[in-house]
Amino acid sequence: MSRKRLRLYLVLATLVVLGIAATLILRALNEELVFFRSPTEVTTNRPDAGSLFRLGGLVETGTVEKQGEQVSFSVTDLSSAVTVTYRGLLPDLFREGQGVIVEGAFDDSGQFVAREVLAKHDETYMPPEVAKALKESGRWQETEGKTQPAVTQ
């Protein structure tokens, strides 16, 4: 086995693995990404039923209704709102008037059904997406963004 030959094999193996990886990644980037949408985007350009996305905004005050294990609430960016239904336990820090991100899709009847309601680690944390949605709707106040430092890990 000469050095040249060995190098050739190494290059070939690298190309094969990288090629496979690139193919997998490109396919996955086309199919497996979940987009984030604000309530305004969702209202103006409604996603198809069954297509999964993340919705972020504030939990509108006074809209949380519980019926057994079913809960519904409105997610708003203060210019539009989307009603969300969820079957399950809400995260500990789920509050009216606070930021929230839900992942789910519209069902055939046009109802947004959340598959997951994402939790936060502390009270003052505002997910960047929610902050962005609020900024886009022009309702962001910088004071809301000011937060005290607190970190895990």
Partner: protein, 658 residues
């Protein structure tokens, strides 16, 4: 007074680090021995100062000294002592101090135990290690001083975030940091070798114990983090492919590659420059992880409110710490010509494939982690990359790696006998096929992941066992001779078998937990029940209890199967007294076959409680497997050959081998 002393000690540590970073380096270049020898006392003193600062901060937490700002922000006088103590690193400033403490621990260890290292290499290694310290100490003193005082001091603190009041906080960060930061010393060794211009088998042997130690701690740290996230509702379960989780996983992947490529340097004097590159990258990924976690630049379920300006500082540190060595690498790598040649089908060839796959897998995780950020910057679209992406990329690449893992150990160095290896693995193949069939039989409509994952896990499990049995020749000779062979087998070989076996166990666990998890949710009145997978969960009662610093509603479930009660579960819903924040404490009954996991939510106002239960098959295998892997790493570490300081360069090492 003590906090001021702590602050002062940090400044002294910085001075020490500056001395340690400069004088030994110059000494090594000019051949001034006393300057080189300065590295040892400087490293020890630096460690002593940082340790003092750390203890001072811990003391402030333990005694609830609310004149210290971060104690006020993250502690409370009525908090249990363990959370007062672990609160020391449950915040930005304190966790940085822990980071630097571990950095100096590794420096001090090399200073103490590296007696047999060539003086030049040792001086340079310690100097590089000190440079990293300088960066982080400056970061701490300039932007995040842990000892900032409040005047007037408040009477009471704000309490540690209730979600962090968990045994997980006491164990996970120190363990993870030991691994993360431990790779810094490998990095320092690599950069020192680049300056030296010499990488050989002896270098690989000097680096190996540090590599093994860091890898074992990182494995433990990642596993503990996963276990904590599993226990905490709303963190997405045992693995969420969350950026913060990925941040700890990427150094693990690339560090695992490093562990294997360093073997080739040690045994065959090949893959030298690649190994150096991996050493630099592993610590680079640790720094990247620190940056991702500290800056809050990417949305994470584990994210806390944070100060983005600090991220810029870490980014600058990252750029310097990675940029400079990589430039040096580009300059010096061509001179690191490998010695040993090998056939593509050989142990070396298998390890190259291992490295290729691990590096590619790391790249897919990196891409998935950073892609949302890139897309946001370039197009303004916000996306999230979740488990499906990783399964379709990382998961698919993991399969060939697991297949190869069973074959590799059968291959000889230089030229391996693939056919012979495969013949000896027939039994493993049959078992794997059986496992795949069982997987489909258990749930025919389950995801494709189940049969493939289970088969790969079983293949590796049985393959590793066969390899071990052949090595001690279990079926040859009388028991005394077999025992003798087993006893004389190098610890490193045991280490490998254990680590591979552990990974197989973990893979089986991950597959089961990911593919077959089921859940049920219902509103229950006391006395009512719900069923899941043949288990009946009956809500007996819900009562109020008082913990040290919280009130809680505690539910009592009786779990029964076929009418026989098998377990009592007591999930809680806690309300902490200081921070008005409810937390959910899951109750888990763990058995080897499956975990039963129960949580209780809010009352519905009509006497009922919302209840959620999960059935998680094989999930405990994940952490059991990780534990075996850690044991494997530590067993390898105890190998005589790697006793720190034992190896000697070239001639003597050859003699020892013969």
């Amino acid at each position: 007074m003590i906090p001021e002393l702590g602050h002062y000690a940090l400044v002294l540590a910085l001075v020490m680090a500056l001395a340690q970073a400069s004088l030994p380096m110059v000494g090594a270049a000019r051949g001034i021995r006393p300057w080189m020898q300065l590295a040892k006392p400087a490293a020890l003193a630096q460690f002593a100062f940082v340790a003092f600062a750390f203890l001072a901060l811990m003391q402030a937490f333990a005694s609830s000294d609310f004149s210290v700002a971060i104690v006020t922000q993250h502690s409370h006088s009525e908090q249990p002592l363990i959370y007062k103590l672990s609160g020391t690193w449950g915040n930005h400033e304190g966790s940085l101090l822990l980071w630097v403490l571990i950095l100096t621990i590794f420096g001090a260890l090399v200073a103490l135990f590296g007696e047999n290292l060539p003086p030049r290499l040792k001086a340079r290694t310690l100097a590089i290690q000190a440079m990293i310290s300088v960066g982080f100490l400056l970061f701490m003193l300039l932007t995040s001083n842990p000892f900032t005082r409040l005047n007037p001091a408040p009477v009471e603190g704000d309490e540690l975030n209730p979600l962090l009041q968990d045994p997980g906080l006491a164990m996970h960060p120190p363990m993870l940091y030991l691994g993360y930061v431990g790779f810094s010393i490998v990095f320092s060794f690599a950069v020192a070798a680049l300056i030296d211009g010499k990488v050989d088998a002896a270098w690989a042997r000097w680096v190996r114990p540090w590599c093994l130690l860091s890898w074992s701690c990182l494995t433990g740290g990642v596993a503990l983090g996963s276990w904590w996230a599993y226990n905490e509702l709303g963190w997405g379960g045992w693995w969420f492919w969350d950026p913060v989780e990925n941040a700890s996983f990427m150094p693990w992947l690339i560090g695992t590659a490093l562990l294997h490529s360093a073997l080739v340097v040690e045994k065959r004097d090949a893959l030298k420059s690649w190994t150096i590159l991996l050493s630099i990258l592993t610590f680079g990924f640790s720094l990247l992880g620190t940056f991702l976690v500290r800056s809050g630049i990417i949305t994470s379920v584990h994210a806390f409110a944070d100060d983005p300006t600090r991220g810029v500082f870490i980014l600058a540190l990252l750029a310097i710490a990675i940029g400079a060595p990589l430039s040096l690498y580009a300059l010096r790598a061509p001179t690191l010509r490998g010695g040993g040649l090998f056939a593509p089908l050989s142990r070396e060839g298998a390890l190259v494939m291992n490295n290729l796959l691990l590096a590619t897998m790391t790249a897919t995780v990196l891409l998935g982690t950073l892609y949302p950020l890139l897309l946001d910057l370039t197009t303004g679209k916000t996306i999230s990359v979740g488990a499906p992406f990783y399964l379709a990329t990382f998961g698919v690449l993991a399969l060939p790696l697991l297949l190869l893992m069973a074959v590799g150990p059968f291959m000889g160095w230089k030229r391996g006998d693939v056919r012979g290896a495969l013949q000896r693995l027939v039994a493993a193949g049959i078992c794997a096929l059986g496992a795949a069939i069982i997987a489909v039989w258990i749930r025919s409509d389950g995801p494709l992941l189940a049969p493939f994952g289970l088969a790969a896990g079983v293949w590796l499990l049985v393959g590793t066992l066969i390899e071990f049995m052949e090595r001690i020749r279990l079926f040859e000779g009388n028991p005394a001779r077999i025992w003798n062979r087993a006893r004389h087998m190098p610890r490193a070989a045991y280490g490998m078998s254990l680590a591979h076996f552990g990974l197989a166990v973990a893979v089986i666990g991950m597959t089961g937990a990911a593919a077959w998890k089921t859940e049920n949710i219902k509103v229950l009145q006391p006395g009512q029940s719900l069923t899941l997978q043949g288990y009946e969960f009956r809500l007996e009662s819900v009562g109020g209890i008082r913990g040290e610093n919280y009130l809680a509603d505690q539910a009592h479930f009786v779990v029964s199967r076929d009418g026989n009660a098998i377990a009592n579960l007591y999930p809680e819903r806690r309300q902490y007294l200081v921070q008005p924040m409810p937390t959910t404490e899951a109750a888990i009954r763990s058995t080897p076959l499956a975990d039963l996991y129960a949580v209780i939510g809010e009352p519905d106002g009509k006497g009922g409680w919302i209840v959620r239960v999960y059935h998680e098959p094989l999930v405990s295998w994940i952490w059991f497997g990780a534990l075996i892997m850690v044991a494997g790493g530590l067993t390898s570490l105890s190998d005589r050959r790697y006793r720190v300081g034992a190896p000697v360069r070239a001639g003597a090492a050859q003699a020892a081998k013969a």
